[in-house]
Symmetry: C2
Amino acid sequence: MDGAPRREERVIAIHGYSVSGNCHKLRLLLEQMGRHPGRDYRWIETDSAHGATRTPEYLAKNPNGKVPMLELDDGRVLVESNAILHYLAEGTAFLPDDPWQRAQALSWMFFEQYSHEPYIAVARFIRGWTPLDSPRRANELPRCLERGNQALAVMDKHLQSSDWFTGPRYGIADIALFAYTGVAHHGGFELARYPNVSAWLARVRATPGFVEMPAPAPENAALLAASA
Amino acid sequence: MDGAPRREERVIAIHGYSVSGNCHKLRLLLEQMGRHPGRDYRWIETDSAHGATRTPEYLAKNPNGKVPMLELDDGRVLVESNAILHYLAEGTAFLPDDPWQRAQALSWMFFEQYSHEPYIAVARFIRGWTPLDSPRRANELPRCLERGNQALAVMDKHLQSSDWFTGPRYGIADIALFAYTGVAHHGGFELARYPNVSAWLARVRATPGFVEMPAPAPENAALLAASA
């Protein structure tokens, strides 16, 4: 795009846990941007559910101990999924040029991390990644469901008059919000209550190059099934 | 700055609760940018602690029911404190031009909203804005203190080798992180444990045009004092 600063083109590494929505955001964008010389990436599977982000080596790169993490070939790193999306999308069709549209896209990305992910992703994590007798199920799930449904209602209202969250076209705010909305049923959310959200999910899945997040491992799938 | 898209210059309105750190971020940036013709603002005090963001009129503008909210003179609105900071700072010295530095600034702003504010701001809110017999004090404060201290430790580590969070200079990532770190003692955090954070807070307070957040109202100050 004209006038926008361009990131340097290089092979990058993504440290990510494939069944994490925050990590899948990056795979989805990178696959949709297309792999080609000067814009390729390798994925370093990093199982945050089993301590891989708590090793001394990992914490030396990211003291906050989370995935995903982008690493350049010179060792510099960038963390926070939505900051990475924004960095990668700069100068592409996945982020508008218009300042107001860019601001709205970023607003939805902050909404996702503050009002959506802490409830919708956390409900999924508790149901699929904690034991059936975990006290978090009784202590945290009701509030996750209440607040997560509020977030879905806010999204549904926006989608009454807009097709996308990034501006006039599909882009990184859609990717950020799709990540955990697309698997919200894992957390116990009934997406049929949100027809505009359901239609938007279908539109996202129909975008060129779309890739679905992998299914959880059998142990997590079993916990999710037992939680239903 | 060269090449960066410029927002349209106009009088804007900020709907904010003055003793909210998320809202004070915008006052601090706008005061430091300087009021002058073509870049002025008015502040519409909006007491989110007493329902002012839950009126039908407010929810029609921001269905998520939160402050702060920026409103243009044509009625368009922008929400999410850090998205507003980013929008206002585009093309100014408060946001670098360099793509990697911009990405790092945004990364810290997502860190602030995900790993910092939900613990450090919420601890302050519980101690100063809920009754002394609120069950949230027993149920939530211990986790707020644990996670908030983790966030302060991550900040302290970064500040071992950097003066600022926005890149080589003070800017919007510093403003975002300052907002609640500057009043973290309200939440029961001991900033003396974090010497680099303490030194950075002093540097922020010494920047040109710095304005401190107003003191809480007497009822909130009394609750904070009784919580200490």
